[in-house]
Amino acid sequence: MMTSKDKVAAVEQFAEKVVEVEGRSLWQDARRRFFTNKAAVASLIILVIIAALSIFGPLLSQWNYADIDWTALSDISVLGRPNIASGHYFGTDPLGRDIFVRTMQGGQISLMVGILGSFVAVVIGTFYGATSGYLGGRVDSLMMRFLEILNSFPFMFFVIILMTVFGRNILLIFIAIGAVSWLDMARIVRGQTLSLKNKEYIEAAYAGGVSTPKIIARHIVPNVLGVVIVYATLLVPNMILLESFISFLGLGVQEPMTSWGALISEGAPNMEVAVWQMAWPLGFLVVTLFCFNFLGDGLRDALDPKDR
C-alpha cells in the first residue's frame, strides 16, 4: 500500500500539536473529589490548626502544665477565671494550674493516642485480614474463627485490667487500645482481599514466581489502602473517646500530665462554679471528634470507586 509523503507529514505535524492526554490515577481522582468537599476540607484545616496549637500552644503561655499559680489558688472561682491579663487565657483548674496549657498538653496526648492507636490497629488488622483472605481455605476459616472468639470478648474490661495490672503508662494505652480495635479492620480488609485475589495482576505476580508474603505486602496491601485509610480516619475519634473514658475512670495518663478526657472528668464536678474547667477541653474534644468524622466521610466519598 502506498501512502503519499505529504499525508504522512501532515499526520506528524498534527501529532506534534496534540498535547499528550495524561491519565489520572485513582489517587489524583480522589484528591480532586476530596478538595471539592467543603466540609471535609474545612475539617482538615481545623484539625491541622488544633494539632499545631497543641504542639506549639504551650510556648505562648508563661505557665507550664504542672505549674501552680499560688496567687490564684486562694479563690479559684474568681481569680482562676479566664483572663488575658493574668496569663490564664482559659482560666485555672482547682489546683491553680493553667487550663490553656493543660488543654494543649492534653491535646497532644489525646491526638497521639488517637493516631498511634489507629495506626497499631491498622497495621495488625491489614496484615491479618490480607493474609487470611489471600491464603483462603482452612487457614482462612481458622483465622476468622479466632477473630470471632476475640470479638465476643468484653474488651473494654481487658483494657481496664491491663491498665491496673501494668500501671499507668501512655505507651501501654496505645498498645492496649490499638490491639483491641483491629478486629473490624481485619474483617474489612479480608473482604476486600477476597475480591482482589483473582485479579490478573495477582495471577501474573504468582506466575512470575513472587513469594506469597511478597504478593501480600506488595500487591494486595497497597490496593486495599483506600478502604484502610477511610476506616482509620473513622477509628481515630473512637480511640480518643476510648482514651477519655479510661482517663475518666482515673486509669489514664499519670499526673501531672493530662488528656482531654482527664480534664473533662476533673472539670465536671465543678461546672457550677467554674464552668471553664470543663468547657475548654470539652470544646476541643468535640470539635476534634466532629472534624475526624467529617474527614472520614469526605475521604469515603472521595475514595469510593462506586461513586464516580
Binding site: 470479638n151 473494654m156 491496673t164 501494668f166 473533662i264 461546672m271
Partner: protein, 306 residues
C-alpha cells in the same frame, strides 16, 4: 433451626473458657496482692489469709479451684468486702444495671429506628438534616459529659428530677441515667438505620412493590423495614458491652449502685475475685447476646440458610 441454635450455643463454650483463663492469669501475674498494705501484717496472719484463699498453692491448683467453684455457680469471696460473697454483691448490683440497660436499649432502638427511618424517607429535607446533626452531636458527646449536664439542667436549675440515688428503680430516678446511657446509641442506630433504609428503598423489590401499586405505608412496614433492620441487629451485639461500661459512668454520677462501680473499685483495689467474677458474668452475657443476635439474624434475613 433447632440444630443451628444448639450449635451456636455450644460454640460459645471454648470462648468462655478462653475468657476465664486469660483473665485469671492476667490478674494473677499482676504485681502486688490484695493484702499488700502500707501497714505490714504479721507473717502468721498473712499465712492464714493466704491459706484461706488458696493463695499458698501453685497457680495451676488455684486455677482449677476457681474453675471448680465456677462450675458450681460460685464466684468466690470478695477480698475487700470480706463479709460478702461475690454472688451476693452481684445479686445486689446487677439488677440495677440490668434495669437501666434494658430501658436504655429500648429507648435507643425505638428512637434510633424512628429517627433513621424518617430521615431516610425524607432524604435531604430539613428533617433529615436535623436528625443527622443530632446524630453527629450524640456520637461525639461522651456520656460522662451528658450525665453532669443532665444533673445541672434537670436537678439543679429546674428541680424536676432527683440528682441521684436509686430508690428501688422508681421512674424519676431512672430518667437521667437512661438519657445519659442511650444518647450515643440513639445517634448510632439512627445513622445506621438511615443508611440501610436509603439503600433498601432503592432496591429492586421495593420498585416492584411500588409498581404493583401498594400504598407507601405498606411498602415501608411490610417490605422495607425488615431488610433495613439487618445492620441494626448486627450492631446490637457489640453495643451490649457498652451498656455495662456505661454503667460505670452512670454509677459514678447518679450513685445508682450498679455493677460498674464494683468493677472499677475492684480493679483499683486488686480485688481479684471481684474483677474476675464481673468479667466472667459480663463475658457470658456478651457471648450469649452475640449468639442471640446471630440467631435473630437468621430469622430476619431470608437469604441466610443455616
Amino acid at each position: 433451626m433447632f440444630r443451628f441454635i444448639i450449635k451456636r450455643l455450644l460454640e460459645a463454650i471454648p470462648t468462655l473458657l478462653a475468657l476465664v483463663t486469660l483473665s485469671f492469669f492476667l490478674m494473677h501475674f499482676a504485681p502486688g496482692s490484695p493484702f499488700t498494705s502500707e501497714r505490714g501484717v504479721p507473717a502468721a496472719v498473712m499465712a492464714n489469709l493466704q491459706a484461706k484463699y488458696h493463695m499458698n498453692e501453685s497457680l495451676m491448683n488455684q486455677y482449677f479451684y476457681y474453675l471448680w467453684d465456677l462450675l458450681h455457680g460460685n464466684l468466690g469471696y470478695s477480698f475487700r468486702f470480706t463479709d460478702f460473697t461475690i454472688n451476693q454483691l452481684v445479686a445486689q448490683s446487677f439488677p440495677v444495671s440490668a434495669e437501666i440497660g434494658f430501658w436504655s436499649f429500648l429507648v435507643a432502638i425505638t428512637f434510633g429506628v424512628l429517627c433513621g427511618v424518617f430521615a431516610a424517607l425524607r432524604q435531604n429535607s430539613w428533617l433529615d438534616y436535623a436528625v443527622m446533626s443530632f446524630a453527629n452531636v450524640g456520637m461525639v458527646l461522651p456520656n460522662f459529659v451528658i450525665a453532669p449536664l443532665c444533673i445541672l439542667f434537670f436537678s439543679i436549675q429546674h428541680h424536676w428530677l432527683p440528682a441521684g440515688g436509686w430508690n428501688g428503680g422508681a421512674w424519676p430516678f431512672l430518667i437521667m441515667p437512661v438519657i445519659a446511657m442511650s444518647t450515643s446509641y440513639i445517634a448510632q442506630i439512627a445513622r445506621i438505620t438511615r443508611g440501610s433504609m436509603i439503600e433498601t428503598m432503592h432496591s429492586n423489590f421495593i420498585r416492584t412493590a411500588r409498581a404493583k401499586g401498594l400504598p407507601k405505608s405498606r411498602i415501608i412496614i411490610r417490605h422495607a423495614l425488615r431488610p433495613a433492620m439487618l445492620p441494626v441487629v448486627s450492631y446490637l451485639g457489640p453495643a451490649f458491652v457498652g451498656i455495662v461500661t456505661g454503667s460505670v459512668v452512670v454509677d459514678q454520677f447518679f450513685g445508682t449502685g450498679g455493677i460498674g462501680q464494683h468493677f472499677v473499685n475492684g480493679a483499683i483495689n486488686r480485688d481479684y475475685s471481684m474483677v474476675m467474677g464481673i468479667t466472667i458474668l459480663i463475658g457470658t452475657l456478651t457471648i450469649l447476646f452475640n449468639a442471640i443476635v446471630d440467631i435473630l439474624y437468621v430469622f430476619i434475613d431470608p437469604k441466610i440458610r443455616y
